[in-house]
């Protein structure tokens, strides 16, 4: 489990999520490196983060080498399939934001993932974050659900520690409640 890709659209909290995942791995004793595309990709644009553990590696995950692909948005996950292989673990948020001027359909993307990847997980982070009245916390909702379902090996306590290290005190308090609620209810 060395290379992770997180793909989504601007505004979903991709960069922050990647920070938290880095912290989680670092707390487990890994040396981590990560990179992201930010800047002109404003809210609504494509955003991708790479997280890597290991020496003598650059920040960009080579094609076909990613062990895990986390898609905060499905078509963005699909955009980055070059980076994964048949054995990679795929975790998709059940959220589709159609790239404008395309006739891309959600079913089309789902079918593609189902046909090509045996290790596919679909997670309903968008709806749950909305129901818990924290629509902007889709990222941490996704992470919490991934860990709760033991797709990634981090406990609730470990998530909270990492969040505390990365977030401001105010943000931490809000997200702590979110994590607790998700563990209680979902």
């Amino acid at each position: 489990m060395n290379d992770i890709i997180i793909a989504g659209i601007g505004g979903q909290g991709n960069i922050l999520l990647s920070r938290v995942v880095c912290q989680l791995f670092m707390n487990k004793g890994f040396d981590v490196k990560s990179a992201e595309n930010i800047g002109m990709s404003q809210r609504g644009g494509s955003v991708v983060s790479y997280i890597r553990a290991g020496d003598d590696v650059g920040p960009i995950v080579p094609d076909g080498k990613a062990d895990i692909l986390i898609g905060l948005e499905m078509s963005e996950a699909a955009r980055n399939v070059n980076k994964v292989n048949k054995d990679s673990l795929i975790v998709l948020n059940d959220r589709f934001v159609r790239p404008k001027n395309s006739d891309l359909k959600k079913q089309q993307i789902l079918r593609f993932f189902e046909e090509n990847f045996p290790k596919l997980n679909i997670i309903n982070a968008h709806d749950i974050a909305f129901k818990l009245n924290m629509p902007k916390a889709e990222n941490i909702t996704m992470l919490t659900l991934i860990c709760k379902e033991e797709i990634l090996p981090f406990s609730k306590e470990e998530i909270l520690i990492a969040l505390k290290q990365v977030l401001s005190p105010k943000m931490y308090e809000m997200n702590k409640i979110l994590v607790e609620k998700i563990y209680e209810r979902y």
Binding site: V32, G39, N82
Partner: protein
């Protein structure tokens, strides 16, 4: 302690630890986070600010340095062009306290109008340039950069690229600041650069560069003993390391950390038993040209593969896969062939860059577009979020060149193609950065253009930095507010209109139409704070009145509005920022507000 730091953060931490006294800069991706991080540090001998532009920043740094302070000026590669005037003079004049010019290059480019290579600027200015490969290395190199600057009394360029600036790495360090006493300014004739002195100092500068070569060479290193030599630097070093994994015996690597000046002896030592040299570097063939020159001058001729013979791309970024491709091309060794991936199975269309949902600029552009309907208009644009005014369906930006050029190019159009109306768009931060001088020129030379200042009360593109128009300083504390209207009036321009782009759309269109009627120099200030600065109290949704006419979607191009597979229009509640612009174009009252609980 051990912490995950972004490259820019690592630089900031190291600057602080190594006793930087004055840190100044202008925001620009991918350089912004250096100052953003430094502002979190406090000490009685440390000062940090966002300056009005890069030239201002570097000149402040120059003054502080002559007074003995350790200083840094930060900017992106295009910002260095703005600061080129003081930099080229300062290289000749010299410095006192260590002065680092931090410049972030953007191969790709990810968010820039050019891909220029600051290592070339180093050759141009006769300055040493550090080019770290990773956040950790950047962290370690700040100390020697200051020391070289102080020892040789010369500014030092510290150049990083997007993939170093914006990558993160776990770094172990001790947060302990080196305290230095600032000795104060000492008057000397050296500081007044008259032509005769400049000639003498130019010779000194050339000598300094010769003198420091050996010392700087210690930061470059040779790895491995293979017969195929790879010369690389910056982030490309890691792409090379990863690409040759498993075949290390074939290669040896010359890792260049200080790209200029290069020490001939070290280069020749590396090249002496090589069968060939492959140059893996992004942007310009700086290492390739410098090394080739050294080899030629010393009568050494071996095959060279790089940009000049098209083995390596001139434009864009490299990555591990591209480097493997290069090795395959050069060596015809099938072991470097790329594996098959899923690339061609599913084509995902590119997401077009666009203004955020709820961006006040979208409304401002549409107001002007509707007001100018039926007239022959050229719209000049500028650098910032609002460059996206070019995107469909807004399509109200015909040109974009560099910071401040919308106002000046508009005057050029007026001179050369005077029958047309010319409307310039510029943001608030950019107006202060370099729009003012252009506006002065239009008044002085009687160029009758309309200038629209899109004031969203922040520097939106780079992450909401304050500027003179906000009146807030870097920590949010009170500075003095510069009023755009007073400034414009002060020039002598009388025709000024201030508009809230969120207020009644039709009324705004009428006001602007009337404003555009007589062909006089005038300024319209569209003022409304950036949608991302306000927490959302409501959002909009489509109700059952919708007749699927798609006008809301077609006119605004708002990213929050879309249609589903059955042609039903919907507003994405997670994206909507509640500006209500779309409501103006709905004839069926199908768009309604929903309050957030």
């Amino acid at each position: 302690m051990k912490k995950v730091l972004m490259g820019n953060e690592a630089v900031a931490y190291s600057l602080f630890i190594n006793g930087v006294n004055v840190a100044v800069g202008y925001p620009g991706t991918p350089s912004t986070e250096v100052i953003e991080t430094l502002k979190n540090f406090h000490d009685d001998d440390f000062y940090v600010e966002w300056s009005t532009n890069e030239k201002v920043a570097l000149e402040i740094a120059a003054g502080a340095s002559l007074a003995g302070a350790r200083t840094v000026a930060t900017m992106k590669q295009v910002g260095l062009n703005v600061a080129a005037d003081p930099l080229l003079s300062l290289s000749v004049v010299g410095v006192e306290g260590g002065l680092i010019v931090f410049v972030a290059d953007d191969p790709g480019p990810h968010s820039s109008q050019t891909e220029q290579d600051t290592r070339n600027f180093a050759r141009f200015c006769n300055l040493p340039v550090f080019d770290p490969s990773s956040p950790e290395e950047a962290f370690e190199l700040i100390k020697p950069a200051f020391e070289i600057s102080e020892k040789y009394k010369i500014p030092v360029l510290f150049r990083m690229t997007t993939r170093v600036c914006h990558s993160n790495q776990s770094i172990e360090f001790e947060l302990k600041r080196e305290k230095r006493k600032i000795k104060g300014f000492e008057k000397k004739p050296d500081w007044v650069i008259l032509p005769a002195l400049s000639y003498i100092k130019h010779m000194e500068l050339e000598q300094k560069l010769q003198d420091m070569k050996k010392e700087l060479s210690a930061y470059n290193r040779i790895e491995g003993r293979g017969k195929i030599g790879i010369v690389t630097g910056g982030v490309s070093y890691f792409y090379v390391k990863e690409a040759i994994k498993g075949f290390e015996d074939l290669f040896s690597i010359l890792k260049i950390t200080v790209a200029h000046p290069l020490d001939e002896g070290f280069i020749l030592e590396f090249a002496k038993d090589k069968e060939m040299l492959i140059f893996i570097e992004e942007l310009d063939p700086v290492l390739e040209e410098e090394v080739k020159l050294i080899l030629f001058e010393n009568g050494k001729f071996i095959p060279i593969y790089g940009k000049r013979n098209s083995y390596v791309q001139f434009a864009g970024e490299l990555d591990v896969d591209k480097v493997r491709d290069i090795f395959y091309k050069v060596l015809s060794d099938k072991r470097f062939l790329k594996k098959n991936t899923f690339g061609d199975v599913l084509q995902i269309p590119k997401r077009q860059a666009q203004l955020c949902a709820g961006c006040p600029h979208r409304s401002s552009f549409l107001i002007v577009k509707y007001a100018a309907k039926g007239q022959d208009v050229i719209f000049t644009g500028d650098i910032g979020c609002y460059t996206l005014g070019f995107a469909k369906p807004i399509s109200t930006t015909d040109t974009c060149l560099c910071m401040g050029a919308s106002i000046t190019m508009a005057q050029g159009f007026k001179i050369a193609d005077g029958s047309k109306k010319v409307i310039a768009f510029i943001g608030d931060s950019t107006f202060f950065h370099s729009g003012i001088t252009g506006l002065v020129n239009s008044y002085y030379n009687r160029h009758n253009i309309t200038v629209c200042i899109l004031d969203n009360l922040t520097t939106g593109m780079t992450g909401f930095q304050p500027h003179p128009g906000t009146g807030k300083k870097i920590y949010g504390e009170e500075g003095r507010k510069v009023s755009i209207e007073s400034l414009v009036k002060g020039i002598g321009i009388e025709k000024i209109l201030v508009i809230d782009p969120y207020s009644d759309f039709t009324e705004n269109v009428d006001k602007v139409r009337e404003f555009l009627n007589n062909d006089q120099l005038g300024v319209i200030v569209f003022r409304r704070e950036c949608a991302n600065l306000k927490s959302r109290e409501s959002y909009f949704k489509i109700n059952q009145n919708c007749l699927k006419c798609r006008v809301c979607l077609k006119v605004t191009g708002c990213p929050a509005i879309d249609e589903d597979e059955n042609g039903n229009i919907f507003i994405d509640s997670a994206l909507c920022n509640s500006c209500g612009l779309c409501k103006n174009f709905c004839r069926y009252s199908a768009i309604e507000k929903v309050m957030v609980k």
